[in-house]
Symmetry: C2
Subunit: 108 residues, 2 copies
């Protein structure tokens, strides 16, 4: 179940456009909660909520630096979630190939 929980948290964290935007922003370098709020039109509490979801999925790590909280990309590499999707995609595509060959043979 732990295996599933990691995938659950990763996919859930990625299911929101603001959270994906925060990850894209942090890919350019660390930012404080305040620096993230403005471009996304969020309150500080709104940012903290989204950052919390990303943090629980290890996609973001935060650290108190002086009086501000700095956010950066976390240790999760999305490798597990990407691997799950890739394996599903391969199955899906091979089924599609078989279906296309079936259609081609049927129309001969």
């Amino acid at each position: 179940m732990h295996y599933h929980s990691t995938l659950d948290r990763t996919f859930f964290a990625l299911s929101d456009p603001t959270r994906r935007g925060i990850l894209e922003r942090l890919a350019g370098g660390p930012a404080t909660v305040g620096q993230l709020a403005e471009p996304f039109g969020l309150t500080l509490n709104g940012v903290k909520k989204h950052v919390g979801v990303l943090e629980r999925a290890d996609l973001v790590a935060t650290e108190k630096v002086g009086r501000v909280r700095e956010c950066r990309l976390g240790p999760a590499s999305m490798a597990e979630a990407t691997a799950w999707m890739e394996s599903h995609r391969r199955v899906w595509e091979s089924r599609l190939d078989r279906f296309e060959r079936y259609v081609e043979r049927s129309s001969d």
Copy 2:
């Protein structure tokens, strides 16, 4: 915003272990709602709810066949969601590489 909504629905649909299990089961071939219920220990309504989420993400398609509803893999190939994750992963890994080179240089 439509672009985002598709990603939202795909990632949200994948954030549940039962829904991922249903996709894995359907990769082996179509199944009725009743056939999906038993292995997952779900009620028919429970299956219908999960299948509805998968259907809105185009990951599953359903069809009324006689008196039962048949479920099969839908038209969404997850290509868009996989592409998003891959591009993020590349950025993440290149940042990690730069960090490692920095650590190596610093320890010379």
